[in-house]
């Protein structure tokens, strides 16, 4: 094309790049949150059980797939996902290489216990006393769910409730492949 030079092309590319950035900024998902902790070693957790029986030490579960679910009794979305969490525990409870913990977040012990009494409970829960566990895991709010592999590496993070397709995806595409040692990161 006559008169079309390299710098014209660069200018067009620059303008296209700017347009793309504006598009991302204006029509991108404003609720999308960055996740940087995937594929990183899971921070150590030493926390008391909600029922005060014993202390949970995450590193003692090395060799197992660990599911951590951050929840609170005041969280409405947690109520929606609770029966799905119970279903996950029920599905894998016989597998010695699986363990699931609830991490009670910014809550009161009596309210958390009342919540579990009301909605049912079949897995263990620990208390995040000063928010240290939540911040160590880069938690923005509840519910959030993490899947940690046998090597103690965080493989998946789910922001929001685990229900419907998210539940199926978590069970079939995340936990089961990890237990079978054939899982990709997400």
């Amino acid at each position: 094309m006559k008169g079309f030079r390299t710098w014209h092309g660069l200018l067009l590319m620059g303008l296209f790049g700017l347009f793309f950035l504006f598009y991302q900024g204006l029509w991108g998902d404003p609720t999308a949150l960055p996740t940087v902790i995937i594929a990183e070693p899971a921070p150590e957790i030493i926390a008391p059980s909600l029922y005060g029986e014993k202390q949970m030490v995450l590193s003692e579960h090395r060799g197992k797939v660990v599911v951590l679910n951050f929840w609170a009794s005041w969280c409405q979305e947690c109520k929606l996902e609770h029966k799905f969490l119970l279903a996950i525990q029920k599905r894998f409870e016989d597998n010695p290489n699986f363990v699931m913990y609830g991490v009670n977040y910014q809550d009161k012990d009596n309210l958390a216990k009342a919540y579990l009494d009301q909605h049912g409970n079949n897995f263990e829960h620990i208390v995040d006393l000063k928010g240290k566990i939540s911040i160590d895991y880069g938690v923005y709010g509840v519910p959030e769910t993490f899947v940690i592999d046998q090597e103690g590496v965080i493989r998946h993070k789910i922001i929001g409730p685990v229900l419907g397709d998210t539940f199926s995806d978590l069970v079939q595409n995340k936990i089961e492949p990890l237990l079978n040692q054939s899982a990709p990161l997400s």
Binding site: P34, V36, E40
Partner: protein, 168 residues
């Protein structure tokens, strides 16, 4: 007990006390917190908190926010300062957990370099574009200017003047 025995006993007791004290001093060094003034600690916590975004708020730093998460983050900053970490180490900790999103001032690396250098690159591209355009416009003026008229001879001049006189 005579005076000499008393002096020896006193010497042995003092030596033992100093020895035990120095032993404790070696095994239990004072943590940095004990040497940090509370006002200074508060000031440092404030300085670092103001550079970190509250993860659950809209455009608020964790210093300005009263959200529980922000308060807990401030407590962690304080604890880490007490443990002897500096501001960069504390910020790096939060970035490792929440990504660059957590800092108000993005770090100069990776895709962030586009944020820092982008305006200057655009300014440079704009400058090149403008200078080229200006050069073209000025060149065009010279090229498009009418050719200077050839001087007319005496015969033509007389003819023109005669025609002009005929209009009067």
């Amino acid at each position: 007990m005579n005076l000499r025995s008393l002096l020896i006993l006193l010497f042995v007791m003092t030596s033992s006390f100093l020895g035990v004290s120095s032993l404790f001093a070696q095994t239990e060094p004072l943590p940095p917190a004990l040497s940090m003034d509370e006002d200074l600690l508060q000031q440092k916590t404030k300085e670092i908190s103001r550079t970190l975004r509250c993860a659950v708020c809209q455009s608020e730093s964790i210093w300005e926010s009263n959200a529980t998460l922000a308060i807990q983050m401030r407590d962690i900053i304080r604890e880490r300062l007490i443990a002897g970490e500096n501001a960069d180490e504390i910020r790096a900790y939060f970035v490792s957990r929440y990504g660059d999103y957590i800092v108000f001032k993005p770090r100069f690396r990776g895709i962030n370099m586009l944020l820092w250098g982008g305006p200057f690159i655009l300014l440079l591209i704009g400058g090149i574009f403008l200078s080229r355009a200006l050069r073209r416009w000025t060149t065009q003026k010279v090229e498009d200017a009418p050719e200077p008229l050839a001087p007319i001879d005496e015969k033509q001049r007389e003819r023109i003047e005669a025609e002009l006189r005929s209009f009067k």
